[in-house]
């Protein structure tokens, strides 16, 4: 809560936080907020491709579905995919990075070689291969993203753990006879937590981009699920006529990812221990990899 307060002092981060809150609430209350909540699975073929109007705020799509309503339900898919995928990849990657960094010799090298293999091709390619093999289902998309995203966390935590292990207080703890798991969990993990939190925020944004790209390429959750990437792909066949079809989900992705990135930026200024006490403008160039 103290953290929230500190972020809130940064105006840009606050904006991100507010936008995120709005989208999360919209996703939660989608059935209430949607003007045509049944339009995710039912169609009104007579009302297809209508431009935005009072009845259909963002217009209708090629099946006659209300885009505004579908967008709200799509937010659920997008948020759920990103949150679960990032959480799983963190849960896999962080312990691997910790163990690898703590025992940097044979064990660490081995683990890092494995993660190197995953990092040797763009994440989206591996994710596509996995999603395509397992079939376009939401759980497969999440699995594909998790399986390809953990190496990033493993790498990050590995490097940070190796640094932290050089800290005298960690050596002191080890000398004191503190068992390894306790050193990792109670000393090292809290030390690297700030950078993990920052990366998580930015990683959520990146994962949304990757997930929507999978959807765009037809590897996302199957129709009629209103996944944003798929909505854009479906809309393409009706461009440039029915432009609203592609505009709404595109903007939704932009806004949501931007919110995560802004929060990440704000968190960096607040959390990064290396920056404490320094001028905000000197913000360290934390890799802004949107799609890592």
């Amino acid at each position: 809560m103290k953290l929230l307060g500190r972020i809130a002092r940064d105006r840009v981060a606050l904006a991100g936080l507010l936008v995120l809150a709005v989208i999360v609430l919209a996703a939660i209350f989608a059935p209430v907020l949607a003007t045509y909540p049944q339009d995710v699975t039912t169609y009104h073929t007579a009302q297809r491709l209508l431009p935005p109007s009072a009845a259909h705020w963002f217009g209708t799509n090629q099946m006659g579905g209300d885009i505004y309503s579908r967008l709200l339900f799509g937010a659920r898919i997008t948020l759920m995919t990103a949150v679960i995928a990032v959480a799983v990849s963190v849960l896999i990657g962080v312990p691997i990075g910790l163990v690898g960094g703590y025992w940097p010799g044979f064990v660490g090298d081995g683990l890092m070689r494995v993660s190197d293999v995953f990092l040797a091709v763009p994440q989206i390619v591996l994710a596509m291969a996995i999603a395509a093999t397992l079939g376009p289902q939401i759980q497969n998309v999440i699995l594909a993203l998790s399986l390809t995203y953990w190496p990033f966390w493993a790498r990050l935590v590995y490097a940070e753990t190796r640094n932290a292990k050089n800290e005298i207080y960690v050596e002191a703890a080890i000398a004191l006879g503190v068992p390894p798991w306790r050193v990792m969990v109670l000393h090292i993990l809290p030390a690297i937590a700030p950078s993990l939190i920052i990366r998580t925020s930015i990683g959520l944004g990146g994962t949304i981009l990757t997930a929507s790209a999978l959807g765009f390429l037809g590897l996302g959750p199957p129709p009629p699920s209103p996944e944003w990437g798929r909505m854009i792909a479906d809309a393409r066949a009706f461009l440039p006529g029915a432009w609203w079809n592609a505009a709404a989900p595109g903007i939704a992705i932009l806004v949501l990812v931007m919110a995560f990135n802004l929060i990440g930026d704000g968190l960096r200024d607040v959390l990064d221990p290396k920056l404490r006490g320094q001028a905000r403008a000197v913000a360290a160039p934390a890799e802004d990899e949107a799609g890592d």
Binding site: T41, T42, Y43, T45, A46, R48, L49, Q62, M63, G64, G135, P136, G218, P222, P223, P224, D234, R236, A237, F238, L239, P240, G241, A242
Partner: protein
């Protein structure tokens, strides 16, 4: 035995002879002839191979049609079968021996086309077992095709086959000398021919890049001669995105689009300057393949429930804006053999529920395999899914590119429950829509629905050995009724062809079997 009488026997019409007559575009006076430049077609399929004997679909027909010739060729709408490389054909009274006499014609490299080349081409199809193989395999055995002399070739069928002439346009004649020279480990030159051309067609290949498409220059010495105006060169590009194709046409980057442009785009293009739309009745029915063997779809009531749960009106009149016409059966209504009074299914959820109630086996979630890149296929899938949901049947949609769907189609285990797609006119005969795709002998090949019905088999088998259309027609009509009664498939509509062209394009001769991609007739104003 005269060629005329026999051919009339086979085709049951005079069309063959008439077609040949209309097509006698004798070499025009050279003084008037004029090249009119380059013509670019944006196609929805990519040309990943040029080998004419490994693919057999309308989407990629342009490379075969323009680079190669066959003994006979379909043209125009309604389709007419014309003598092409063949001067004439003699058909024995038992309808087992077909003897063709060849015209004087030369391949692009100048070698004359001989009976030997025809024999080689047929043997090649039978050996590669791809493309149109399934059309010939049941009646033509390897080694039975003979070159009687350089100008005469003879086919010996194992049994009467009423559609033999109708499918012969898919037997493209390749330059046997050239292909033999590039054979490698007995591959019949497959490796080489995928990337090169060894034909005699109206155009000769100049560029080919599987990632882009192919381009060809006019072959001035083509044996059919040329009209007063023609194209100097043609180019076909595989462009997977509808939007890109349409925008390109609007901007004048392309001169024509494939025949699968969604009607929404056609509507939009209608108002555009420099664009013209050609509308022709077509022979392409849209339907859902239903897996007739997998429970609960093996129960006719289940299949009927499906057919009652599809919103035909919403699909045809709203989603497609009335651009197509309801077709109750699988045979396109303009085709003979389609019963004119056929009562199909209507969107009727009560009847659907009633049928569903009679289903004995346990219910499960059905799988619909839509074709990626074809918006209509996906829309039909979503509409059926939505209808099914209303009668309490769950369905999931998997959208995949055609090659992936195709690779699973014949596999009883892996094929999806329902696949919304089209049945194009590969040859203009009711067999194309009935026996070939529903006869139980074709299971695992043409019959992708795993449908088997004794009466249907009898009818379609008999229709293949009869020669007169009048005799065959009632058989096909009854067969068609059986398919509807059994709900062997979910039949939706027969399409119209909407060709989008640059308004400079002239001389288009549309044919349902070739769309408008036979480029020898066209020119630019």
């Amino acid at each position: 035995m005269t060629s005329e009488s026999e051919s009339r026997l086979v085709l049951g019409r005079r069309e063959l002879a008439l077609g040949a007559a209309t097509l006698s575009v004798a070499a025009a006076t050279p003084a008037l002839a004029a090249g009119t430049g380059k013509f670019i077609t944006a196609n929805n399929n990519s040309y990943d191979t040029l080998d004419p004997h490994v693919v057999f679909d309308i989407g990629r027909i342009a490379s075969r049609l323009n680079l190669y010739d066959a003994l006979v060729r379909w043209t125009d709408d309604p389709p007419k079968l014309n003598m092409w490389l063949a001067e004439k054909v003699d058909i024995s009274p038992d309808a087992l021996t077909y003897t063709f006499t060849l015209k004087d014609a030369k391949f692009h490299d100048g070698t004359p086309i001989t009976a030997e080349d025809v024999v080689y081409s047929m043997e090649r199809i039978l050996a590669l077992k791809k493309g149109a193989y399934g059309l010939f395999s049941s009646v033509v055995k390897p080694g039975t095709t003979k070159a009687l002399n350089p100008k005469t070739v003879q086919f010996r069928l194992t049994s009467p086959y009423a559609v033999f002439m109708a499918v012969l346009p898919e037997m493209w004649v390749v330059n046997s000398k050239m292909v033999r020279a590039h054979e490698h480990n007995g591959d019949w030159g497959a490796g080489w021919l995928a990337r090169h051309e060894a034909g005699s067609g109206s155009f000769r290949l100049t560029h080919y890049d599987p990632a882009v498409g192919f381009a060809a220059d006019r072959y001035a010495a083509h044996f059919m001669g040329w009209g007063p105006k023609y194209l100097d060169s043609i180019e076909f590009r595989g462009i997977l995105e509808v939007a890109s194709r349409v925008l390109g046409l609007e901007k004048g980057e392309f001169d024509a689009l494939d025949g699968y442009t969604p009607y929404d785009q056609i509507k939009r293009l209608r108002g555009k300057p420099k664009v013209k739309i050609l509308t022709e009745p077509s022979l392409r029915t849209m339907y859902f393949i239903i897996h007739n063997r997998r429970p609960p779809l093996d129960d006719v009531n289940m299949r009927r429930a499906l057919c009652y749960a599809f919103d035909y009106n919403g699909f045809i009149n709203n989603l497609l804006d009335g651009s197509v016409v309801r077709n109750a059966g699988i045979i396109p209504d303009p085709m003979w053999g389609a019963p004119k009074d056929l009562q199909g299914y209507t969107y009727d959820l009560d009847k659907a529920k009633a049928a569903l109630a009679k289903v004995k086996g346990p219910m499960r979630t059905l799988t619909i395999n839509a074709l990626g890149g074809y918006p209509q296929s996906g829309q039909a899938a979503e509409l059926l899914q939505s209808g099914l949901a209303k009668i309490g049947v769950k369905a999931t949609i998997q959208s995949q590119p055609w090659p992936v769907v195709a690779a699973r189609l014949g596999d009883e285990q892996k094929s999806a429950d329902l696949i919304p797609l089209w049945r194009s006119a590969y040859f203009a005969d009711p067999h194309n829509w009935t026996g070939y795709i529903y006869n139980s002998k074709q299971i695992g090949r043409g019959n992708l629905s795993f449908f088997s019905n004794k009466r249907f088999d009898e009818l379609t088998d008999k229709a293949l050995v009869l020669v007169k259309q009048a005799d065959r027609q009632p058989l096909y009509e009854e067969a068609s009724r059986i398919l509807v009664d059994e709900a062997a498939g979910l039949f939706i509509y027969n399409t119209n062809y909407y060709g989008a062209f640059n308004d400079r394009v002239q001389g288009v001769r549309y044919c349902p079997i070739a769309d408008a991609q036979d480029m020898r007739w066209q020119w630019l104003a």
